[in-house]
């Protein structure tokens, strides 16, 4: 009597356990995005393209993969004004994200890292009339200071990120000239380098 009940009960348990395996496990290719500020990013893997909007912080491709399928996520198109890298890195919260490529099923859940940084562009210009040392130009308080030497005809500041402002002023005059920023000294960085700032130096009045 006891045995006749035990045997069906065991069979049922076994069947339920197998059903829990879902027949076939699937794995969504998903991840975390840090630093995305602009529209235009398109991630791609296994024939799927996934556009992401500005400020997105996570992604998940529409079709999950089966166990053993290989994925390789790439940034097919960058967002405007930024560059994104798909990579394994330690995120802000301390989580170590997965790299761009692996085999579905090797991790319980796939959490690929995408790190976006805003592009920077060069900032510089021309100098006319400088024949002595001592000139110092500054880009505000945090953009750096440059000291073109006598006879310099150009100058370069540290690159500036997109949408960040710059304002070049004469912090110190050279020994024999009076210099001024005569054009294009202030602006907001776009996508292209700024090379047209002009500093004009004239001999000191005797």
């Amino acid at each position: 009597m006891t045995l006749t009940f035990t045997r069906p009960a065991l069979t049922l348990t076994l069947a339920l356990t197998l059903a829990a395996c879902g027949g076939k496990a699937t794995f969504p290719v998903a991840g975390t995005i840090e630093g995305l500020k602009y529209d235009g990013l398109v991630l791609s893997t296994n024939g799927m393209d996934l556009p992401l909007a500005a400020n997105a912080t996570s992604f998940s491709f529409p079709n999950p993969l089966s166990y053993g399928e290989v994925y390789d996520v790439i940034a097919k198109a960058p967002p405007a004004h930024q560059t994104c890298n798909v990579a394994s890195f330690q995120g802000r919260t301390g989580v170590l994200y997965n790299g761009p490529t692996d085999t579905a099923g090797r991790f319980g859940a796939i959490n690929i890292g995408v790190l976006c940084t805003t592009n920077t562009a060069a900032l510089g210009g021309k100098i006319t009339g400088l024949t002595s040392d001592g000139l110092q130009l500054t880009n505000g308080s945090t953009g750096g200071t440059v000291a073109p030497l006598a006879a310099a005809v150009s100058f370069n500041f540290a690159p500036v990120a997109y949408d960040v402002t710059y304002g070049i002023t004469v912090l110190a005059q050279p020994a024999k000239e009076v210099c001024r920023v005569s054009s294009n000294g202030t602006g907001k960085m776009g996508d292209n380098p700024v090379t047209e700032i002009v500093v004009t130096c004239e001999p000191k009045p005797a």
Partner: protein
Amino acid sequence: MKNLTLRASVALACALSLAACGGSSGNLLLGGTVTNLFKPGLVLQNKTGPLLPVAAGATTFAFHELIGNDEDFEVKIATQPTGAVCVLANNKGKSGAYNITSVAVVCKTNMYDLGGKISGLDVNGLVLVNGADRLAIPAGATDFKLSQIDDGAPYGITVLTQPPGRTCSVQNGVGTMGAAAVDAVRVTCG
């Protein structure tokens, strides 16, 4: 004879290397890390021991005097740097068997207001910048304040956007921050 010379020089070497320990009884280093120290004048001290000056730009420090095992230590700031304030962490305890390198000195350079007065601004639209720092100024404003900057940092204020129909110019807009707020910048619009 040869042997004697050797023995003497070994003894001398021993004496010298012991003396290098600074006459202290210990054999453990006491030190740590220094973060964001851009100003001169910081002096550290362990309890009432000798003073240790730490130069601007230093990222680590270690006292010249070694300490012993199971010895209490308490690193203190004898003198703050000029134009900055430093605070200590992990600075008090008892030594074990290993060098102590975990004392942390974290400094912050003093910051001051940067601003001045405006005259003749009767429309919206003026935007001033100090490099990457941007400030829109509304019609009718008679003074302005940009973000605070570090003691010793240069500044250069320029006009990013002129208000419609007006031209504003900046006087006294360039300089180097000292140990007090700058309020002497003048913006004249007409």
